[in-house]
């Protein structure tokens, strides 16, 4: 009997059609906590460097949170890990919904998929029974239809399904794995990896339960977390308006990525914001991931007009910026329709929008041939084209086939200087954060092992707009004055703290919305819930150290693949072009009490400022500044000795000067 976890890893080799299980080593829970952390360990052990991410050597790992299956608030999140086809580097992509908890109730904490099938298959996990089943009849079907067909085939509509759509089948480099229909493990192309394995879906049904070691203490610590979460002023806001709630404010702050990051503002953004959506005829219901107490997810329908019959989960803040403002559109119906298509084809809305914007800017600059365009008029704000491009990307038709390879490869192929407006670093399309307006975010995005986005170190506290954020900045830096996103000082400290916390949060299966986007739950409370659940005292420091160990292992994966400091950059535009809307002085920071921009503030992530922050960040981590690689003593101190021999044999353990 294991507490909190089921204790089992389910391995499936699709090439050999072999299924086996192994137990989760006790030591891993203490070293890597669970989910994202244990995934990192499994991934490191399962492959050498240089494998083809879309070949059978890639390993696709689904890891449930250590607290998943319990009522610990927001504990239903799952991390999917593999080598990314987009970046050829480390990929972890996190998803909510209910699939992970079902897997745990079926008796497995982890599902590790090796090899590749010859013809399409799906996995059917029914408690202890696991089968590889034919999925030829499902290939070519979208996410929603596949889920329904599996429900019929299995005869139980409560079966949880993780599935790829046409995006994953067609190896679109930003294809998502969808769970519970509308929840996406979106970033970095995990859906393409699943497609390359010809694994259409994983259907799971579990009737088990999860027991914690110290029920009384677990109940107490969870209720502290629940109470504190509810007391955070933004909790209600999150429920009422979802992640899209912040659209109008971010736009007012002139930091809402619009027109492919050329502007930080779009006229009329309130019409695509969460509060407007909440009052509109489109929002039908609010949804929650497993064990969530906020329930920020949306469900929308369009009943009349051009897109009548559209129904879908979403839209989120990111989707609204990516498929709306980013493309120069404030048409909410277009956003919802494009969101539906991304969901059912299984595409990352962030990257899909990014590619369409890149093409729109290219269209404006006349870089495409008539033949490439096939009559498409890629004008800013052209809603029909936005929707149509999502279709063409998913099916790799015409220009869509070029965009489907991700913005880095598309720009390489088309050329004409278009790499300068390809908003990517490491090959990953940047998420919808204007890092020129927030330097902690800028550093976090640059060092994120999977590429530039916010799900590595969400440093919203640096804005200092909320008491919880200011308290946190004081705790990290010793002074509230560093709660100012336009400062370079202390960004390294702020980012590193958030990295540790975020890794621990992911690994427990919790959502960033309880502690780094909102401030209800601190690492001490996470440690309390974790300790009570597993029956061993884990201190806050130990939990945060495990977070750092996880992040460092992810970093080591990239080092092994050949990544260096040169990879820790931001998109060209953000490093070389100031953000006009902020440069003109229309800056919300002036409205925030006691805060003005520093004298030398320019809204740009210049190489000079980034380099300064990187130096401080590597130093703080005790990584070599020249290469960005961890020193031997750093790895030893974090008890990551197992990675040293391989890195050493590749000459990637830097010598301390």
């Amino acid at each position: 009997m294991r507490f909190a976890i089921a204790g089992k890893i389910l391995h499936v080799d699709l090439s050999k059609r072999k299924i086996w299980t192994e137990s989760v080593p006790e030591e891993w829970i203490h070293k890597f906590i669970g989910s994202r952390g244990v995934n990192a360990k499994i991934l490191w052990d399962s492959m050498g460097s240089g494998i083809d991410p879309l070949g059978p050597e890639n390993t696709l790992i689904f890891g449930t949170g250590t607290l998943s299956g319990t009522f610990a608030p927001t504990s239903g999140r799952t991390t999917v890990t593999c080598k990314s086809p987009t970046t050829h580097l480390y990929l972890k992509t996190n998803v909510g919904g209910h699939w992970g908890t079902e897997l745990k109730f079926a008796g497995y904490d982890y599902l590790v998929v090796h090899g590749a099938a010859i013809t399409p298959v799906y996995l059917w996990i029914d408690d202890g029974k696991v089968e590889i089943r034919d999925a030829r009849h499902l290939w070519g079907k979208d996410v929603r239809e596949t889920t329904s067909l599996l429900h019929e085939e299995i005869g139980d509509p409560a079966t949880q399904v993780a599935v790829i759509g046409q995006g994953g089948e067609n190896l679109v480099y930003f294809a998502a794995i969808m769970v519970s229909v509308y929840n996406a493990a979106a970033r970095g192309g995990a859906g393409a990896v699943m497609g390359s394995k010809r694994l259409k879906a994983v259907a799971v049904r579990g009737h088990g339960s999860v027991k914690v070691a110290d029920g009384k203490e677990f109940y107490r610590s969870c209720h502290v977390a629940i109470k504190n979460s509810y007391e955070d002023a933004t909790a209600k806001f999150a429920h009422l308006y979802g992640t899209a709630g912040s659209v109008p404010m971010v736009n007012e702050a002139r930091a809402f990525p619009a027109y492919n990051f050329r502007r930080g503002y779009i006229e009329g953004a309130e019409k695509i914001g969460g509060p407007y959506l909440a009052e509109s005829k489109y929002l039908k219901r609010r949804l929650g991931c497993n064990a969530c107490i906020f329930c920020c997810h949306r469900y929308c329908e369009i009943k009349e007009g051009k897109y009548a019959g559209c129904y879908t989960g979403g839209p989120e803040y990111e989707t609204i910026s990516a498929l709306g403002a980013g493309c120069g559109s404030i048409d909410l119906e277009v956003v919802i329709k494009a969101n539906e298509l991304c969901n059912i084809y299984g595409l990352d809305t962030i990257s899909a929008g990014n590619l369409i914007q890149w093409a729109m800017e290219g269209y404006e600059k006349k870089i495409f041939t008539e033949q490439q365009l096939e009559g498409l008029r890629l004008e800013w704000g052209n809603g029909e084209v936005i929707v149509e491009m999502v279709r063409r990307i998913a099916h790799r038709q015409g220009l869509g086939n070029i965009l489907a390879d991700g913005v880095k490869r598309a720009a390489e192929k088309i050329g004409c200087g278009s790499e300068k407006w390809a908003i990517q670093a490491k090959g990953l399309e940047q998420s919808r954060v204007e890092t020129r307006a927030a330097f902690g975010y800028a550093l976090a995005f640059a060092v994120n092992p999977r590429g530039p986005d916010h799900l590595h170190s969400e440093t919203i506290a640096e804005f200092g707009t909320r008491p919880g954020g200011r308290r946190l900045i004081k705790k990290i830096t010793g002074d509230e004055k560093y709660a100012n996103p336009r400062l370079i000082e202390k960004r390294a400290d702020i980012v590193r703290w958030h990295e540790d916390c975020f890794a621990a949060t992911d690994s427990l299966g919790l959502c960033a919305f309880i502690n780094t986007s909102r401030f209800g739950v601190d690492p001490q409370q996470m440690a309390d819930m974790f300790s009570a659940a597993i029956g061993k005292r884990v201190t806050e420091e130990e939990l945060m150290e495990a977070g750092r160990r996880i992040l460092t292992l992810e970093k080591c994966f990239n080092v092994r693949e050949g990544a260096t400091r040169a990879d820790d950059v931001l998109p060209w535009r953000l490093m070389n072009e100031p953000l006009e809307s902020l440069a003109r002085g229309q800056d919300v920071m002036k409205a925030v009490e006691g805060k003005t921009n520093p004298e030398d503030f320019t809204p740009i992530n210049s190489p000079a400022m980034l380099n300064r922050m990187l130096d401080e960040y590597y130093e703080l981590h005790n990584w070599d500044k020249q290469t960005s690689w961890p020193y031997r003593e750093t790895l030893e101190k974090l008890d990551l000795k197992e990675v040293i021999p391989e890195l050493e044999s590749k000459g990637k353990i830097p010598r301390k000067k």
Binding site: G215, R285, R286, L287
Partner: protein, 134 residues
């Protein structure tokens, strides 16, 4: 007397209520141990919670041949006396709402006991307010 009510249009399908309910009553978190059930149509975002309706004249009580079921005068919930329950499941057949359940392991019927007047499920549904105890 306070009543526990489920409001399906507000249910987000998060199942927090089920996980805490099973924990309070079975010492382990599960769906099957919960006194609340949620039927989901994920494609349409519809989640329908069901729980005991605390009937005025409960058919489950009348149906029980062992007199194991009775109304708790303090909370108005249906209480199952496990020492009397013979596992015949007549109460389950009698319940028109499908909210009387059977534990196959212990061979006993169970349903919502309102946590003796302080229902835990409501505490994890404060934002959606899909469950109310008023």
């Amino acid at each position: 007397m306070k009543r526990l009510l489920a409001h399906p249009n507000k249910c987000t399908g998060c199942r927090s209520c089920m996980l805490i309910c099973s924990f309070m009553h079975t010492d382990a978190c599960s769906y099957h141990g919960s006194r609340i059930k949620i039927v989901s149509d994920e494609g349409h975002g519809i989640h329908t919670p069901t729980l005991c309706q605390f009937c005025e004249d409960p058919p489950c009580v009348s149906a029980c041949p062992a007199e194991a079921l009775s109304k708790n005068p303090k909370t108005n919930s249906i209480q199952v006396d496990a020492s009397l329950c013979n596992g015949c499941q007549a109460c389950i057949s009698a319940c028109p709402f499908g909210t009387m359940f059977f534990d196959p392991e212990n061979q006993k019927a169970f349903t919502c006991d309102l946590c003796q007047g302080d229902p835990e499920c409501v505490k994890v549904c404060q934002l959606p307010e899909a469950l109310s105890y008023v």
